[in-house]
Amino acid sequence: MKDPNFYINKYIKILDKNNNIVASGKCTSFKPDFVNEDIIYISFDDKWYFSNKNCIFNIVDYIDSYVPNEPPAILTWEYWRKREELKTNVDVYRDFCYAEIDPPIKPYVDRLNKLSPAIRTIESCCGHGKESWHITILFCDINSLSMFLKALYAFNKTSNVQIELYSSFGVCITDTTVQFVLEPAYEYREADFDLEMLAKLVKTLEKYFIHF
């Protein structure tokens, strides 16, 4: 299996079996396949993830970004969130991109991504402000995770509620990152209250990452 990070920041032209261009540009992110480790999904916009299942990845020196509004009919695609229900892998996954983050949670996701270069959120949801929230976070080193946990422990110690960080069924597994989900561990009350707790936690995190 090729290291998935191999494609990151490289210019790639994706061709279908008939040599037609499916998409192209600079690879910004990837997702693994959970069934076949030889298959990888790469993206130029963090929204459409094209696999090497029925396409060829050609690395080039430079190519303009081109992502169709929808993949060509020759390729199968499905929403990334439905991957666990699928019995087979598809050619293309559609994920939500940064611009599509639920507006009520977006300011907090933005702030989490500024804590450290070694911390990156990869998925989040708050039911458009009507349900509880969760945020999936990638950690790239032990110091950032350690600091995150210290701040989380401090928050939980001084709050009447508990927020947990725990491993989840894979969204993006690599040898150089660990992935955890952050979400309330208390019984759901109402969305506004949950977001208020998230705001307090983010403030605590910022304090720790700035001062320590």
Binding site: D141, I142, L145, S146, L149, K150, L152, Y153, A154, N156, K157, E164, L165, Y166, S167, S168, F169, G170, I173, D175, T176, T177, V178, Q179, F180, A185
Partner: protein, 203 residues
Amino acid sequence: MEYSDKYLNKYIQVIDIHTGNVIAAGKVITCKSNAQNCGISFDGKYFFNQSENLSYKEVSYADTFIAETFPDYIIVDHWRNFTENNNVDIYRDFCYDEIDKEIKGFIDELNTLPNITTVSSCCGHGSGFWYIEFVFNDFDTLNIVVNNVEAFDGKLSLGTHLRTGDLNKKFINLTLKPQIKDIDFILLGKFVSRLSKIFEYKK
């Protein structure tokens, strides 16, 4: 605050400030820190904090010694109560010999793996609601364990489920627990076996 891990592997005497008597001494084998206290231990059972009553003195060597009783003004409490009671001189924790016997075989095997250290565990004496708390100090090992957990399709979880409050600077404490009932420890057995094979393969 200071972190107690700086005393690891050093020889320390714990001195009763009021009498000058040594109440414990030896080589520091483990330590614990929370937001208020940081304690050192010579046996993994008693953790001595620097406090209004106790101080540390570093020495070149000291045989392991722990007083059988402590003066009344020295406050001893169980480590599991650390969130409720921070005004403590000595924390008492369970040590390795006190691990629930139903789970001990798994814990023993886990601790033989490179860079894997467990710091607490429980299975309700066999009721099946088990958890194992790990301490990680290197990212590669954490990565292997997290990926091994994820191979169980959400049936196991590693996270901040249990707050030990152990805030050592370089270490990360995370707790493994099943997301479904695992009365016969089948999931745990598979987890340990799979992890052992991964490390064996990496050799």
